[in-house]
């Protein structure tokens, strides 16, 4: 990678295009094969126990439904702080993730626990609105107390080749975030190729995103292993090129402990254990937490657990 600074490449659509299209292409078969190969690693007993606890501490416990109520958000926050109330040595999760209007409900519910509050913003999940609306959406979420903002990129502009528009939007949202961390959702399920995923990752990182996130969870396929692999390679190369470290958050479709552990293996083998920390790697999910807790209980008691013994959401 060259030492070109982001200011140079982002001076016009032509320079951005030249830079992004100059990135090496992704070998699709190779990426699929490597992700599948790493997915066969066997993690057992004490290593599995550590992986489960690490995965729990990386979860962004998420509820992004039209039917979200204040009560549901408060219940989820209680679960985020004490995932298994009967077992105090279960670590707390990294963050809760809600819609902007429910941030004010979540903030007091997790205060003092160390659990962060993340809010989606920028006309989530489609991102189809004007820049003014998106910036205001972000500012309101931050004003309500969000520690992290999960924005969506304008996929329409990206696919049409208007990279500068996407770039400037991310820059504007980053400015509106102030001290809050910015996660940039690429919605890889709509980008159709791994080359596009790599380009969108670089674009988001050049524009100042603190995290790159795979998906909204509203589009299938969401966080597949190969897509996460491509994004991890992008943050690794970006660190080497610029010295700035960016986090990764696969979100959507991670439902089982096995899925979560495969992700951790992928992180360790691609970017190393520097990313095996909630500050640098997150799992956007909701149902995976119960599976992690069930597996943890299986290790404690020696008997398979069931969903009856954990909260529904």
């Amino acid at each position: 990678m060259s030492t070109t600074t982001s200011i140079d490449v982002a001076s016009s659509n032509a320079t951005l295009r030249a830079f992004l299209h100059g990135l090496p292409g992704v070998d699709r078969v190779g990426a699929d094969g490597r992700a599948a190969m790493l997915g066969t690693r066997s993690i057992k007993t004490t290593a599995k126990r550590q992986a489960i606890d690490l995965a729990i501490s990386m979860v962004d416990l998420t509820t992004l439904e039209g039917a979200d109520t204040p009560g549901k958000v408060r219940a989820m926050c209680a679960k985020a702080v004490h995932p298994d109330p009967a077992n105090p040595d279960v670590p707390k999760v990294a963050a809760v993730c809600v819609y902007p209007d429910l941030v004010a409900e979540a903030v007091p519910a997790v205060r003092g626990s160390g659990v962060k509050v993340a809010s989606v913003a920028t006309a989530f999940p489609s991102g189809r609105s004007s820049l003014e609306v998106k910036v205001t959406d972000t500012a309101l979420a931050v004003a309500a107390g969000a520690d992290e903002v999960d924005m969506v990129i304008d996929r329409g502009a990206f696919l049409a080749g208007d990279y500068l528009k996407v770039y400037e939007e991310i820059v504007a949202i980053k400015a509106a975030c102030g001290p809050a961390h910015l996660k940039v959702i690429l919605e890889t399920g709509e980008l159709s190729t791994y080359d596009n995923v790599r380009r969108a990752s670089w674009l988001a990182m050049l524009a100042g995103g603190d995290f790159i996130k795979t998906s909204t969870g509203k589009v299938q396929p969401a966080a597949t292993l190969p897509v996460t692999l491509v994004m991890l390679e992008a943050v690794r190369d970006f660190l080497a090129a610029t010295g700035r470290k960016v986090g990764v958050k696969p979100a959507g479709g991670i439902r089982t402990t096995k899925d979560a552990i495969k992700m951790l293996v992928l992180v360790n083998e691609t970017v190393g254990d520097g990313w095996l920390h909630p500050d640098w790697f997150r799992l956007g999910a909701s149902s995976v937490l119960n599976d992690l807790l069930m597996q943890r209980q299986k290790q404690d008691t020696g008997r398979y657990s069931g969903p009856d013994y954990f909260t529904l959401d």
């Binding site: 020696g302 008997r303 398979y304 657990s305 069931g306 969903p307 009856d308 013994y309």
Partner: protein, 301 residues
């Protein structure tokens, strides 16, 4: 000229067609997977001749089967009793159509005569029809309108227990299996069955019958392998609500019953002696995995 491999004329004439052998797999969630462990074991006839290799299920297959059974429970228990009866009658129809195949398998597995094997298949079909008829009647004999001293109606009705593990009897690979599985599902439970380890092949063929008879995937899951290995995992599983230990050896049954106590599973203990599967089964196997829901309904207000 292109060279082609040729056989000597006399060899070509003696080549016989190779029979296509069936791979006997598990039945989980309506699909036929191999064991997660990749293990299999040789199944022999009553005379000790090799019959086939059957999958040897592991505890993880048992876990997957419980997940499939739990997933199927909502739909199956929510179906009307009439509909469940129809589905079970349909199983009988499918089984009747495979009468010859099952009879041949019973002759191979148990060494019984062809006539006796045919009778056993007929009895299994009749047992299905008999239980199918019970689907919308069991709540009439087990539910009640209770007289209470107060301004209330008090109505009790039956509800299925949930996911039931079944250790099928080692003897009676078809009739015995049908006789323990059908009473569990007819009331709306779903089940995970550990088939007879000695003669598992009819259970896999029965799974093919189930898969083609409108029974939703996951209502019946059939594992072949070692009951002593699998049953304790099912007995200890917190998401299993009942266990039928009919086919468990005495020491295994005691261990399983102890494990089952942790989440208060309903348990059927193994019988003291041989069971005559041809005898009238009664309703005991259905009522063992039923709960009673009582609703208090105010009147005169």
């Amino acid at each position: 000229m292109v060279w082609r491999p040729t056989l000597p004329r006399d060899a070509r004439e003696s080549v016989e067609r190779l029979a296509v052998r069936k791979t006997y797999k598990l039945f989980i969630g309506g699909a036929f997977p191999r064991s997660e462990s990749g293990r299999s074991y040789a199944v022999t006839s009553s005379k000790g001749e090799f019959l086939a290799n059957a999958s040897k299920a592991s505890r993880k297959d048992a876990r997957d089967a419980v997940v499939a059974a739990r997933k199927a429970f909502g739909g199956w228990s929510g179906a009307t009793a009439y509909n469940r009866g129809q589905v079970i009658y349909r199983i009988a129809e499918m089984l009747e159509g495979r009468r010859a195949q099952f009879a041949a398998e019973l002759v191979a597995a148990d060494g019984v005569s062809a006539k006796k094997a045919g009778e056993l298949v007929d009895a299994a079909v009749d047992r299905l029809v008999w239980y199918a008829g019970w689907s919308d009647k069991i709540s009439a004999i087990r539910g009640s309108a209770n007289p209470v001293a107060g301004p209330y109606f008090n109505l009790s009705s039956t509800e299925p227990t949930g996911v039931v593990a079944v250790v099928a009897p080692p003897m009676g690979p078809l009739l015995g299996l049908v006789s323990v599985v059908v009473p569990v599902i007819v009331t709306g439970n779903t089940c995970v069955v550990v088939a007879s380890g000695r003669a598992p092949l009819p259970s896999v063929t029965l799974a093919e019958v189930l898969a083609t008879s409108d029974l939703p995937g996951g209502v019946v899951n059939i594992l072949t392998g070692d009951a002593a290995e699998l049953a304790p995992w099912l007995a200890g599983h917190m998401d299993v609500n009942g266990i039928d230990l009919t086919g468990a050896a005495p020491e295994l049954a005691v261990a399983c019953e102890q494990l089952a106590a942790e989440n208060l599973k309903r348990v059927i203990r193994p019988p003291d002696g041989e069971i005559d599967w041809l005898a009238d089964p009664g309703t005991g196997r259905m009522t063992a995995f039923l709960e009673t829901k009582t609703v208090w309904h105010p009147i005169g207000v």
